[in-house]
C-alpha cells in the first residue's frame, strides 16, 4: 500500500501511468457518451410536464456533479501536496482547475438554457444557481492566485491552501436545494432511497455521468502529462520521455 503511495509521488512514474491510462479512459468515455446521448436524446420517453426540454438534464446534471467532484479532487490533491510535500499533487490540482471551471461554466450555461423554457428566465438569484456561480469564482480565484506568484512553488502552495479553504462551498452547493426553498427542483437522483425517476430516463443519465467521469479522467491524464513535463523540464527523465 505504502510503496504504491510513494510511487505516486514520483513524477516519471505518474507521467507513465497517465500516458498509459489516457487512451483507455477516453475510449470508455466516448462509448458511454455516445450511448448516453442517443438513449437520452432519442430513446428516453418525454417528460409529462416538461416535454422535450427535460432532455437538457443529460448534459446539465453530469456537468454540475462533475463541477463538485473536480473541486473535491483538486482540494484533496492540494491537501496531499501540502501535507506530504508531494509535488505531483500540485500538478494534479493545477491540471484539474481549468477542467472544473469548464464543467461549472457548462452547468451554468445549460442550466440557464433549460431555465428559459421552464422558469421563463435565463437566470434567477436562487441559492443553488448563486452558489454554483460562487464555485466558478473560486475556481477562477485558485487559478489566478497560482499564476500571480513569480515563484511557481509558492504559487502552488498558496493556491492549494485557497482550494482547501474553499471546500466549505461544496456542501453548500450540494445541499442548497434541500436547505432553502428554491426555484431549482429538488434532488431526484442522488438521494437516500429509490430515485424519483423511471428507469428508461435514469439509465441514460447514469451512463452520461459515467461518461463525464471518464472524460474528466482522460482530460486530467492528458493535462497532467503536460503539467509534469513543464514542471520537470530541467529533469533528465523529461528529455528521455520526449525523445522516445
Amino acid at each position: 500500500m505504502w510503496t504504491w503511495f510513494y510511487k505516486l509521488a514520483s513524477p516519471p512514474y505518474v507521467y507513465g501511468v497517465a500516458a498509459a491510462f489516457a487512451p483507455w479512459l477516453l475510449g470508455v468515455a466516448a462509448i458511454a457518451l455516445c450511448y448516453g446521448l442517443v438513449a437520452g436524446l432519442a430513446i428516453a420517453p418525454l417528460d409529462y410536464q416538461q416535454g422535450d426540454a427535460f432532455r437538457m438534464i443529460y448534459v446539465h446534471v453530469p456537468s454540475a456533479l462533475l463541477s463538485l467532484t473536480v473541486y473535491t479532487v483538486m482540494a484533496a490533491a492540494s491537501a496531499v501536496a501540502l501535507i506530504w510535500r508531494i509535488k505531483v499533487g500540485h500538478a494534479v490540482a493545477a491540471a484539474s482547475a481549468p477542467i472544473g471551471a469548464s464543467f461549472t461554466l457548462a452547468a451554468l450555461v445549460t442550466g440557464s438554457l433549460w431555465g428559459r423554457p421552464m422558469w421563463g428566465t435565463y437566470w434567477a438569484w436562487d441559492p443553488r444557481l448563486t452558489s454554483e456561480l460562487i464555485l466558478l469564482f473560486l475556481y477562477v480565484g485558485v487559478m489566478s492566485l497560482r499564476s500571480a506568484f513569480e515563484d511557481p512553488a509558492r504559487g502552488d502552495r498558496a493556491a492549494a491552501l485557497l482550494a482547501i479553504v474553499g471546500v466549505v462551498n461544496v456542501p453548500i452547493v450540494h445541499f442548497s436545494v434541500v436547505w432553502w426553498n428554491s426555484l431549482h427542483q429538488g434532488a431526484t437522483v442522488v438521494r437516500l432511497g429509490a430515485p424519483r425517476m423511471p428507469g428508461s430516463m435514469l439509465w441514460p443519465l447514469l451512463v452520461m455521468w459515467l461518461g463525464f467521469m471518464f472524460f474528466y479522467g482522460a482530460v486530467l491524464c492528458t493535462r497532467l502529462q503536460g503539467e509534469l513535463l513543464n514542471r520537470e523540464r530541467q529533469a533528465a527523465w523529461v528529455r528521455e520521455a520526449i525523445k522516445s
Binding site: 460562487i134 469564482f137 480565484g141 489566478s144 500571480a148 491552501l161 485557497l162 479553504v165 474553499g166
Partner: protein, 226 residues
C-alpha cells in the same frame, strides 16, 4: 527576557492600535468609504423612502463588505514590507498568536468602528430605530467573520504586486453567505419579524471562522513569508 503569550498578545494589539491612531486617516478611510457608498445608492436610485427601505439591508451590507475589504490591505502588508512581520515571527512566540493579535486589532479599528457608525448610515437609509439592535449585532458578527476571512486572503496575497484585485476575488466568494444571512437578519428586523434564525447562522459562521481561520491564515503567512 521571555514574554508570556498573554503579554505578547496585549503588546501586539497595543502596538497596532497605537499605529492606527497615529495615522487617523487610515482609520477613517474605510468609514468614509462606507458613508460615501451608502449615500451614492439613494442618489443613484430614487428619493422614495419606501423603495429605499426595501433595498437598504442589501446596500448596508454590500457597503460594509466593500469597506472592510478596502482596509484588509493594511493588515499584514506594511509590516511584511519593512520586515517587522519576519522579526515578529522570529520572536519565539507562535505565528498563530501574532496572526490572532493582529486580526483582533484590525477588527477593533475597522469592524468595531463600522458597527458604531452604522446607525448614522441606517438612519440615512430609512431603517427604523427598532431594527438598530439586530442590525448592529448582525454587523458585529459579520465583521468579525470578515476580518478572519480577510486575514486568510491578505496572508495569501502579501508578496504580490497587484494583490488588491486578487484579494477581492479570493475573499468575496467566501463572504457571500455572510452577505445573504446578514442582509436577511436586517430585513427581518426592519419588517418586525424575528431575526433569530439568520443571527444564529451568522453566529455559527463567526465561531467557525474564529476557530479554523487562524490556522489557515497562519499557514498562508508561512507560505508567503518564508
Amino acid at each position: 527576557m521571555k514574554v508570556s503569550a498573554r503579554e505578547a498578545f496585549m503588546l501586539i494589539v497595543h502596538r497596532e492600535l497605537c499605529l492606527s491612531f497615529r495615522r487617523p486617516e487610515q482609520l477613517l478611510q474605510p468609514l468614509v468609504f462606507f458613508l460615501i457608498v451608502t449615500t451614492l445608492f439613494p442618489l443613484g436610485l430614487s428619493l422614495q423612502l419606501s423603495l429605499l427601505r426595501d433595498i437598504s439591508p442589501g446596500v448596508l451590507w454590500t457597503a460594509a463588505l466593500l469597506s472592510s475589504l478596502l482596509s484588509l490591505d493594511s493588515l499584514f502588508k506594511s509590516d511584511a514590507d519593512d520586515g517587522t512581520l519576519e522579526q515578529l515571527s522570529l520572536s519565539g512566540q507562535g505565528l498563530t498568536l501574532i496572526v490572532v493579535a493582529k486580526t483582533c486589532a484590525h477588527w477593533l479599528v475597522t469592524g468595531a468602528a463600522l458597527v458604531i457608525a452604522s446607525p448614522i448610515v441606517a438612519t440615512a437609509l430609512g431603517i427604523p430605530v427598532a431594527a438598530f439592535a439586530t442590525m448592529m449585532l448582525s454587523l458585529a458578527l459579520g465583521t468579525v467573520t470578515l476580518s478572519w476571512l480577510g486575514a486568510i486572503g491578505a496572508g495569501l496575497t502579501i508578496g504580490l504586486r497587484r494583490g488588491n484585485v486578487l484579494l477581492s476575488l479570493i475573499v468575496l466568494p467566501l463572504a457571500t453567505p455572510l452577505l445573504i444571512f446578514g442582509a436577511a437578519a436586517t430585513e427581518r428586523a426592519i419588517s418586525g419579524s424575528s431575526a433569530a434564525g439568520a443571527l444564529y447562522f451568522l453566529a455559527s459562521l463567526c465561531v467557525f471562522t474564529c476557530t479554523l481561520a487562524p490556522l489557515a491564515a497562519t499557514a498562508a503567512l508561512r507560505i508567503t513569508l518564508e
